[in-house]
Amino acid sequence: MSKKLKTTQQSRRGFLKGVGAAAAAVGASATPVQAVAAITEPKKRYGMLIDTRRCVGCHACSVSCRSENNVPEGKHRSWVEYTEKGTFPNATLHFLPRLCNQCSDPQCVSVCPTNATHIRDDGIITVDADVCIGCKYCIHACPYDARFLNPETGAVDKCDFCLDRLEQGKEPACVATCFNRARIFGDLNDPDSTISRMVASNAVSVLRPGMGTLPNVFYIGLDYADEHDIRFPRQYIRVTTHRDENIRR
């Protein structure tokens, strides 16, 4: 009985000591202003802006992505679609870089049965390859066709803005390699970031806005890459997706 009481007293004393030490440490290290800042500091929301007017369709982004993320042959985390319109002399060629749209309200996260696909605090959607069972339901659900089953791992794979590079303070490989700076990457929640300023000062649009998924990949000049052009009905339009795996010709 006395032994038990002693143990209880000791643990209570230890607890009070711990609380006191913690309070002292907090008081010494953080001013009230910092504490408020820590609470109110907005979370990051990473996004990308693609200026299609600057894209020349060189595929440097696709190649660097493949190299950086060890993407298997025939699969794509990022790719560039070509759109040819009209006939000579009134013909144009436009380019549309594509990747996961890192949506704020993504369907892929909703449908994943095991929560392998989830949104990080910074808005990036990742797939935990150790939890993914490879049911492929998310590939079905993605409105942007941005996912694939990695044949080497058996898990679903997609663009994650080069998470490994981000953690080292670097830009995604596709952004770093784009020589014409067609891709701008940054924190959309930071009003002073380049991407925020460019999104605010340009006419931007997203793919399939009607899906309501709130993509965080924005485009400038998307109209020019759109196959649909109401001014020229039935004009010659050819889209080359560069994802020609098993496509009927």
Binding site: H140, I237, N246
Partner: protein, 407 residues
């Protein structure tokens, strides 16, 4: 209607061992196919980035949907109190479990990581209909097993109606869940329709009943037991109603799509397009799976037993074609990244504009393996437990037998 005695299948004959041997061999080959695909990865399948659910999924979903419907006969006896169906309750429940096992095994073995099944059972996202289906499938096994137990165990007999009601409600929810896998896919033109759930329920009724009729006829023929005309006639008539109901939902689905401009592209692709899905729809689903069986069942042909068997087989072929057009056809039509576009030419194919899919041999073998597992479980179950009414002659099974004969 006299008392029904139940018996098991004669398991000493050469025919029995021969059948079990053939089924086991097919299953072994299917396991070899699974190993081959697992070892080499997704590369060796016909599936690609756009068509990610291929032929194994067609087999799997067909079997799962048919499993739910195979329990119909038991439900009609227990829930709706139709005496003529009551002796078939055990057999109907066994077939439901066998088909579900076959379907789920195909589904699981076609996962990118089938070894992670335990992950699927321990990590849940309840916003996902897939996660719900894991509960619905396992729950179905449990409820139907209890239902069988209550039907077979004399002491528990008084509770079998409760189990029957539970199984009836559960399978409706289960098929709603299976249909909703597609109904909830808003990104694709072919899906994104609430009608998918009732369509799948109607399909489960027709396919399950067709499977049941064929299994019943085969079992009674091979075991040389008597199967009366009255029960077959009723099953056939009910099957016809289910086929018509499934067609009604198909009609409503396509008419709604044709009314909405945004779906015209997909409807044109399926109904008039250049792909193999168009003949699969018109010939497989509509002609073979709907029109021909209805003609057989509701004309004089329906009086012949072989015609009933042929009609049931046609329903199954049509159902398989329908799941192929739903699952593979729905993915073959490209997603409208730019709505309302009009592409004259594309890398999807100058004329065709759709994604191609040719199943590889291992995928076909895996699917057939699922069917073999279902048959094996059914035959083995009949051999070890008393599932079969000793006789289903009219005088035994038909409650109106005396009245009819005296009239």
């Amino acid at each position: 209607m006299s008392k029904v005695n139940y018996t098991s299948l004669e398991a000493n004959s050469k025919g029995f061992y021969g059948l079990m041997g053939v089924l086991a061999a097919v299953i072994l080959v299917a396991l070899g196919a699974v190993y081959y695909m697992e070892h080499n990865g997704h590369w060796v399948t016909g599936m690609n980035n756009q068509i990610v659910w291929g032929l194994p999924h067609v087999f799997a979903i067909f079997l799962i949907v048919a499993a739910s419907g195979a329990l119909n006969v038991a439900s009609i006896g227990t829930v709706f109190g139709k005496a003529i169906y009551k002796p078939l309750g055990r057999l109907s429940s066994l077939l439901a479990l066998a088909l579900l096992t076959g379907g789920l095994l195909v589904l699981v073995l076609d996962l990118g990581r089938p070894d992670r099944l335990i992950v699927a059972m321990t990590y849940y996202n309840f916003k996902s209909i897939f996660a719900w289906n894991i509960f619905l499938y396992t729950g179905f096994f449990g409820i139907v097993a209890v239902y069988i137990w209550f039907m077979m165990e004399r002491k528990m007999n008084k509770y079998y109606k409760v189990a029957g009601y539970a199984a009836f409600v559960w399978r409706l929810i289960l098929t709603t869940g299976t249909g909703s896998i597609f109904g909830f896919l808003v990104a694709r033109s072919a899906y994104d329709a609430a009608i998918m759930a009732p369509l799948f329920i109607a399909l489960s009724f027709s396919l399950g009943m067709a499977c049941f009729i064929l299994f019943l006829m085969a079992t009674y023929k091979w075991s040389e037991k008597e199967l009366g005309d009255a029960i077959l006639r009723r099953l056939k008539n009910v099957l016809g109603i289910f086929v018509a109901a499934a067609f009604y939902f198909v009609l409503a689905y396509h008419l709604t799509n044709l009314y909405a401009t945004e779906h015209h592209g997909f409807e044109a692709f399926l109904l008039t397009g250049p792909s193999g899905h168009t003949p699969l729809f018109w010939v497989g689903q509509i002609l073979i799976g709907t029109v021909a069986p209805l003609l057989i069942f509701y004309t004089k042909m329906g009086e012949s037993r072989s015609a009933i068997a042929v009609g049931s087989a046609l329903v199954i072929i049509g159902g398989f074609a329908q799941f192929t057009t739903i699952i593979i056809g729905g993915q073959a039509y490209p997603m409208p990244i730019f709505p309302d576009y009009e592409v004259i030419s594309s890398s999807f194919g100058d004329a065709a504009k759709y994604y191609a899919y040719t199943p590889s041999l291992p995928e076909i073998v895996l699917g057939i393996g699922g069917v073999a597992i279902a048959i094996l479980i059914f035959v083995f179950g009949c051999a070890v437990l008393r599932f079969l009414p000793d006789s289903l002659a009219d005088k035994v099974a038909d409650p109106h037998y005396k009245a009819e004969s005296s009239a």
